[in-house]
C-alpha cells in the first residue's frame, strides 16, 4: 500500500526482500489472454473469491479488490503502509478497501510500518530512513 509505489518497491528489493504489489497482481491479469473483462480483468468469479476476506453484504467493488489484494496479504510476512498518498502515487480508489486491507494486515500479526506520505525533502529523507530501519530489522 499504496499499489503503484515504485519507491517502496525498489527499497524493498534493495534490502533483500520480495515486494508483493498490486501492480504485479494486476499485470498478471491484464496480460492473461484467457480473461476478457477489461480494463483490469477482474471477473464476477473473482468477486466471489473476495468472499474469503469480506462478507456478502460488502459492496462488490470491495470484494473484487480484496480478490486481488487478499492473496498478497495471505502471502505477506511484513507490510509497509503509506498514509495520505496523493492520487498519482497510486490508489485503488476505495477507502473502505484500504481500511479493510490495513485491518487484515494487523490481524495477521506481521511487522507493519505505517508512515505518512512525505510533503517535503526533509520528511522524504526521514521516510527512507524509517523504511531502511524497518527492512533491516526484518532480517
Amino acid at each position: 500500500m499504496p499499489p503503484n509505489s515504485l519507491i517502496l518497491f525498489d527499497l524493498v528489493e534493495r534490502f533483500g526482500h520480495e515486494p508483493l504489489s498490486a501492480m504485479k497482481a494486476i499485470a498478471e491479469r491484464v496480460t492473461d489472454l484467457e480473461i476478457d473483462s477489461p480494463p483490469i480483468n477482474v471477473t464476477s468469479e473473482d468477486v466471489k473469491k473476495g468472499l474469503k476476506y469480506a462478507g456478502i453484504e460488502v459492496p462488490s467493488g470491495i470484494r473484487g479488490r480484496l480478490a486481488l489484494w487478499g492473496p498478497l496479504i495471505d502471502e505477506a510476512e511484513a507490510a509497509i503502509v503509506m498514509e495520505d498518498a496523493p492520487y498519482y502515487f497510486g490508489c485503488v480508489g476505495c477507502h473502505r478497501t484500504n481500511e479493510m486491507v490495513k485491518y487484515l494486515l494487523r490481524k495477521k500479526g506481521i511487522p507493519i510500518l505505517e508512515i505518512p506520505y512525505p510533503t517535503n525533502e526533509e520528511e522524504a529523507k526521514l521516510m527512507v530512513t524509517k523504511i531502511k530501519e524497518f527492512l533491516e530489522g526484518l532480517k
Binding site: D36, S37, P38, P39, I40, V42, T43, S44, E45, D46, V47, K48, E57, V58, P59, S60, G61, I62, R63, G64, R65, L68, P86, Y87, Y88, C91, V92, G93, C94, H95, R96
Partner: protein, 408 residues
Amino acid sequence: MIKIAQLSCGTEYSGVQAEIEKAASIVGAKMVAPDVDLKDIDAAVEEFGFSPSSPQLRMMIARAVQLAHGRYDADAVFIASCFRCAEGALVRNEVRRYVQNHTRLPVVTYSFTERTKSGQLLTRMEALVTIVTRKDLLARERQVGLTVGIDSGSTTTKAMVVRDNEVIGKYWLPTGEVIASAEDALEKALAEAGVKLSEVEAIGVTGYGRFIIGKKLKAKLVQEELTVNSKGAVWLADRQKGEATIIDIGGMDNKAITVRDGIPDNFTMGGICAGASGRFLEIVAKRLKVDITELGKLADAGDYRKINMNSYCSIFGIQDLVTSLAEGNSIEDVASAACHSVAEQIYEQQLQEIDIRQPVIQVGGTSLISGMVTAMKDILGQEPIVPKNSQYIGSAGAALLASGFLEG
C-alpha cells in the same frame, strides 16, 4: 455515436465495466470518461461540497464538475456505484442532483453488483440514446393520421388505435406467445375502432417483445418503454408541458421517471424484486381467492396498520399476510397491507433515485387497483393523477410517436 459520460466507482473491480460498455455499444453509444487533471480533483471536491474518503468517488465528483463547467462534451450521463456502499450511494445521488442542476443532459443512476449484466442495462442505455437522438420525435404532442401502438408487456399485451389525437379502439390481454398475443390484441382493437389494418398508416411497438413484433408487423417505431411510456403518460394525462413524475408500476417491473415537457431527463427501473410489482398483488389476490380487479376496492375498505408485514418479499411477505389471516385479520386489511407493501418499496427504492416533481402521474396496470393509488397517495402525501386508460400508456405513446413518421 452517442457519448455517454460514465461517472462511477467500482465498476472495474466488480467485473462489470465490460458489461456496461457492451450495453452501450448494442444501442449505438459509447461510454466515455470525462478527462480530469489530477491536480484539479481536490478543487472540484471542494466546489462540490461533499468530500468522500474514497479517491475514486472524488474522481467521480471531479468528472461531474468537468461536465457541469462544459469542459467535456457528452450527450448523456450514466452514474453508478457499488450496491450497498453507503458512501457511494450518497455521492451517486448528490452527483446526479448536481449534474441535473448544472446541465440539461439526461441522467440514469444505477447501483450494481458483480451479477449485473448488459441485458439489465440495455433498456436504460437505449432510453438515454433515444432521448438524445429522437428529441424532435419525443417533443411531439399531438397524434396525427391513423396509427396503432402495441405494448408487449411482461404480463399483458395492449393495443391502441388512435385517429387524429382521439383513441378509437383499444384492447388488452394476458401475454402468452408474444406475436400471437400482439396480433390478437391488434385485431380486437382494430375491430373496436372499425378500421382495417390496411388503413393504418403507421405502427409503433414498445415493451419486452418490441423487436420481434416490430419486425413481424413492419412497425415504423420500435422503441424502449421508458421514453414511450413517458410520452403516453403525459399525453393521456394532458400534462405535456412543464414537469411531472411518472410512476409506472407494471406486472413485473416498475419505473419512476421525471419529465420536462414530456421528455424524460432522469429515470430509474426496478426489476430486481417482484415484491415491488403487480405480480405480488396477483399472488395476494389468488391467496385471498378474489379477482385482481376486486383487490383495490377491498384494500380501500381495510387498514394496513393492523397487519404486521416484516418483509416486502413476494414469498415471505405472503407468509406474513397468511399469518395475519390465521390471526383473524380481515381480507380487507390484508389487501390494504399488500398495496402498502408495494407502494412502500417503490418509495424506498425507485423514488429515492429521482427527485419527485409535481404532478405525480400514476400509470401501469396496477393504477387500476384503487388501493394501490390510495397507498401511493398515503406515502407521497398527495393524490396522484391517474389518467383514463392508464394501463395503455405504452400503446398510447407508441401510437403517438409512430405518427411522427408520417409525412406532413
